[in-house]
């Protein structure tokens, strides 16, 4: 693992065994995260964002099988491959919820309606921090205050249905932060919220990130939210990362045709109204029996026939910190890849007569 990294995901695959066949939902994902940074993971519905998160946490469904490597710099266990740990064992449990916390989209589902909010936050505190009843309650209440829940004495004893959506999301963040995690996975944490509440929650997360020096893996398909939150962005398409770069670079200088389409199809307030929105025609194919080709081939307006439908481009660095997976990119490194693949295809063609 490189110095300063908290997480390195290497060639992650997630296969799902369905009755209709094998769904290759995540097909070789590579990325790394530095300590304290926010990485945005964006892409269309179904491209494998949530499965990637679940693989990190070791909470995949039985029929979803991950493979590859997920290296994590753990306080307790040192540098460890999370995928090599028994998903039900003690080791992953000492990391999950303590060193790596998570927030999901639906706060209503995350809390049990049977217990008070305070009780449920306190459960995490008692599991990971201290068994001392009085101390643990104090710590739990302190975190609730920190996330901006007013009147904690009263709120502590209330049930989830007595909280509004925004307050519940705050409580969920409190629960995720109670043991000072080094890394937070936030899967669409504000999608269900209104813009005003969303803005509050995002600002809160940023503040807390500074306080706790925590790395955040932020999953969303809202490019506005990414612009506000993330240092770096990784764009996923059909189970692969097709581009990654600093956030400012992705918006100012998107290189992959899919990233360009994605950014181009967001209407910016104030741009001229007669304009039609740019849109990527077609839809994402199902990740089953995929041909050996670029996953974006059907929808790409700069595809190269005879190449993009015959081979799959690999993620290549075109500038420091900026990687893309596309054959039709003028940068030197991509051209080199293209020439190599073309030569290989030629050879194969000759061999096959």
């Amino acid at each position: 693992m490189s110095e300063g990294n908290i997480l390195e995901v290497k060639d992650l695959h997630v296969d799902i065994h369905m009755t209709e066949g094998l769904l290759t939902a995540v097909r070789g994902v590579n990325f790394e995260m530095k300590k304290g940074e926010t990485l945005g993971l964006v892409g269309e519905s179904g491209c494998g964002k949530s499965l990637t998160c679940k693989a990190i946490l070791g909470i995949n469904d039985r029929k979803c099988v991950p493979s590859g490597q997920i290296l994590f710099d753990s306080e307790g266990l040192g540098k460890v491959d999370l995928l090599s740990l028994d998903p039900k064992g003690q080791n992953i449990r000492s990391i999950r919820g303590k060193e790596i916390s998570m927030i999901f989209q639906e706060p209503m589902v995350a809390f049990s309606p049977m217990y008070t909010i305070g009780n449920q936050i306190n459960e995490a505190t008692r599991l990971h921090i201290t068994k001392d009843k009085k101390k643990s309650k104090e710590i739990s209440m302190e975190v609730m205050r920190k996330v901006g829940i007013a009147n904690v004495e009263k709120r502590y004893n209330q049930y989830p249905h007595e909280f509004s959506g925004g307050m519940l999301q705050r409580a969920l963040i409190a629960m995720a932060l109670v043991c000072n995690p080094k890394m937070l996975i936030a899967d669409e944490p504000t999608t269900a919220l209104d813009v005003t509440i969303q803005a509050q929650i995002l600002e809160l997360m940023k503040e807390l990130q500074k306080d706790f020096n925590m790395a955040i893996l932020f999953i969303t398909h809202d490019l506005g939210v990414v612009a506000k939150m993330c240092d770096r962005v990784a764009v996923m398409y059909l189970g692969k990362i097709v581009e990654s770069a600093e956030a400012s670079e992705i918006y100012a200088n998107p290189q992959h045709p899919y990233t360009r389409g994605l950014i181009g199809s967001v209407h910016k307030i104030g741009s001229r109204k007669e304009d039609r929105l740019f849109s990527i025609e077609g839809t994402v194919p199902l990740a089953m029996n995929l041909p050996k080709a670029c996953g974006f081939y059907d929808r790409c307006d700069v595809r190269i026939e005879g190449l993009c439908d015959k081979a799959e481009p690999e993620l290549t660095e075109i500038a420091p910190g900026h990687k893309i997976a596309c054959f039709n990119c003028p940068h030197e490194a991509c051209r080199a890849q293209r020439e190599k693949v073309e030569a290989m295809l030629k050879k194969e063609a000759v061999k096959n007569g």
Partner: protein
């Protein structure tokens, strides 16, 4: 009814009562719509957008107030007074597209049957061939491949399902369509496809849209006029460009300042709102927004402001509309870029 309007909503109220508690979902909402216009409706969750839309398609009957509608044949109808036969005509001409493209389509019906359903309900005497033909033509218009028509909805992606929903709404040739969060559940790239489709169809078929959404960028793109709702009331109603550039209501200002902009070089100065959205069963006194408003004065705590015309001809429900200089998005003339704040 004004000759220019296709729809006039006057003092509309909708209350729900259950277990002795009354929720005022929509309170005293009034606005006019011209044919071919798109009216955007925005506001926080629970502010009454869907309820307003449902009152207009007559899925709910209003508790109070009037809705006037000009039919295709030019007749002026009053919703509350119309008899059964007229009501049927209204229902045919005002259709709704729903938020959830998954649950709003019957999984046991083929796509063709789903699109035909409104024809069957409204034209019992139409021949099967004619229905098939109309449904197929509409499917083609919204970009559905004809080979898809015999399949069931589960075999379709979100964007395709939303197209099915649009075809179903359009097949009986309505005049007005209420789109309730019609693109909210879709991915960015598919969202753009569906929005373009809605605009193309509007031009071709001269449709009037009521476009309900919490996504302000989408609303700004598609709407001619925008109504902002807060706790059941319409607090501001204005041409889209004016509303985004110079909001008149403090709530609109706060809403605009919270929009996440897809450009990291823009740092919006968000105007934080104090407190939480009040309970609609027990709204605050005076101006419903006063507990959270930064510009609140004594009068606001006791007197409820009405949607009135400001000195420069804008519609806003705020005692201080004429004196406050609020912040919006400023437009950059030269480029398609935007700047936040003043």
């Amino acid at each position: 009814m004004d000759k220019e309007n296709i729809l006039e909503v006057k003092g509309l109220h909708k209350r729900f009562t259950s277990k002795g508690v009354t929720v005022k979902a929509v309170t005293d909402v009034s606005f006019n719509v011209k044919p071919g216009e798109t009216i955007g409706i925005v506001g926080e969750s629970g502010c009454g957008k869907t309820t307003l839309g449902r009152c207009i398609v007559r899925a709910y009957s209003a508790s109070e107030g009037e809705v006037f509608y000009r039919t295709k044949s030019g007749e002026e109808l009053d919703f509350l007074k119309a008899d059964k036969k007229k009501m049927k005509e209204i229902r045919k001409e005002i259709q709704m597209i729903f938020q959830d493209p998954y649950s709003s389509l019957d999984p046991r019906m083929t796509v063709l049957d789903i699109i035909k359903e409104p024809l069957r309900a409204n034209y019992p005497n139409m021949s099967k061939d004619e229905m098939d033909q109309k449904a197929k033509a509409m499917a083609e218009k919204v970009g559905l491949n004809p080979t898809y028509l015999m399949r069931y909805p589960h075999a379709f992606s979100g964007g395709q399902r939303q197209r099915i929903g649009i075809a179903r709404a359009l097949v009986i040739e309505p005049q007005i369509i209420v789109c309730d969060e019609a693109v909210s559940a879709l991915d960015v790239s598919i969202q753009a496809q569906v929005i373009n489709l809605l605009r193309d169809l509007q031009k071709e078929l001269k449709l009037t849209y009521l476009f309900i959404s919490h996504d302000l960028s989408v609303v700004e793109h598609i709407s001619d006029k925008v109504g902002v709702m807060y706790l059941g009331q319409m607090v501001e109603f204005a041409p889209a460009e004016e509303l985004f550039e110079k909001p008149r209501h403090p709530y609109t200002e706060a809403l605009l300042s919270a929009v996440p902009v897809a450009d990291p070089t823009i740092q919006m100065n968000r105007i934080p709102l104090k407190g939480e959205i009040p309970n609609p069963a027990n709204p605050p006194s005076g101006c419903y927004f006063h507990e959270r408003c930064h510009y609140c004065i004594d009068k606001c705590r006791t007197d409820s402001p009405k949607l009135t015309t400001t000195q420069d001809g804008r519609s806003c429900a705020c005692h201080r509309a004429d004196e406050l200089g609020l912040r919006g998005f400023t437009y950059d003339e030269n480029a398609k870029t935007q700047k936040a704040g003043k």
